[in-house]
């Protein structure tokens, strides 16, 4: 397995755990600090669970970013589910269409350095997050 990029399929609740373990392994490789690791693993957990909950299945792709200027991790969560009709609404705290807390999307945004959502109703959703490795 190439540890610098890869893909994981998400289709069951237990895959959320595998996602967490995978992300943790990559951040370790990068030498990312414990708190930042916890942040990005938690965000990944939210996004993976959303795929399982709302789109039934999908994938997480990961990329280690390593250039002279920056080092970090990029995670892309892709599904062909129902899509999000109103992204602004979905990003509001407390907004949920299930029994959730509605904190997953807005909370994840705060835990990472960059987050982008692209979604089309009936086609699917792609959420990309990036977390930079703070060298200190």
């Amino acid at each position: 397995m190439d540890d610098r990029q890869g893909e994981l399929s998400i289709g069951r609740e237990s895959d959320v755990i595998v996602v967490r373990q995978t992300v943790r392994k990559i951040t370790k490789l990068l030498g990312m600090g414990l708190t930042d690791t916890t942040r990005v693993v938690t965000a990944a957990s939210e996004l993976a669970r959303n795929i399982f909950l709302y789109a039934e299945s999908g994938v997480m792709r990961w990329n280690v970013i390593d250039t002279p200027s920056c080092q970090g991790i990029e995670l892309v969560f892709v599904d062909q589910g129902p899509g999000i009709p109103d992204i602004g609404q979905a990003m509001q705290e407390g907004y949920t269409t299930s029994k959730g807390l509605g904190m997953g999307l807005p909370g994840s945004r705060r835990l990472v350095d960059e987050m982008e959502i692209v979604s089309a109703v009936g086609k699917g959703t792609t959420v990309t997050i990036k977390k930079w490795n703070r060298r200190s």
């Binding site: 609740e13 708190t35 693993v41 957990s45 939210e46 705060r110």
Partner: protein, 122 residues
């Protein structure tokens, strides 16, 4: 159930429960059930949930935790959540979560002190 690696120990009137590091939904459902059954069986007055092994506390987990606290209240008990790691506390707060009515303690020792003190007056 194969999930029976969740240990519940009774110390005087209080149940001490160790939450596993990366519990899935089934494991948490099982933990809930075991805690409540033990409440009844051991006539416990309170529960200490030791989450010191937990490395990732997402919004789903937070919801299950506060549900458990609520269930213990319905049965007449009190819950203290003990040992949250600093990294988890930071992340949970930034994520915007709270764990409902739960009291918290730095570690299991403190939690036991807290809970037995508050139970003296009942």
């Amino acid at each position: 159930m194969e999930n029976d690696n969740i240990s519940v120990i009774k110390v005087r009137d209080v149940l001490m429960v160790t939450v596993p590091p990366d519990p899935d939904d089934t494991a948490m459902a099982f933990l809930q059930e075991k805690v409540l059954m033990s409440m009844e069986q051991f006539r416990a007055k309170g529960v200490v949930l030791d989450i010191s092994a937990v490395e990732t506390l997402d919004s789903y987990f937070a919801r299950v935790l506060s549900e458990t606290v609520q269930m213990v209240i319905l049965m007449g008990g009190k819950t203290v959540i003990a040992g949250m790691r600093p990294s988890v506390a930071i992340t949970t707060t930034q994520l915007g979560l709270s764990i409902g009515n739960a009291e918290t303690a730095l570690n299991v020792d403190r939690a036991l002190d807290m809970i037995s003190e508050s139970l003296q007056w009942r």
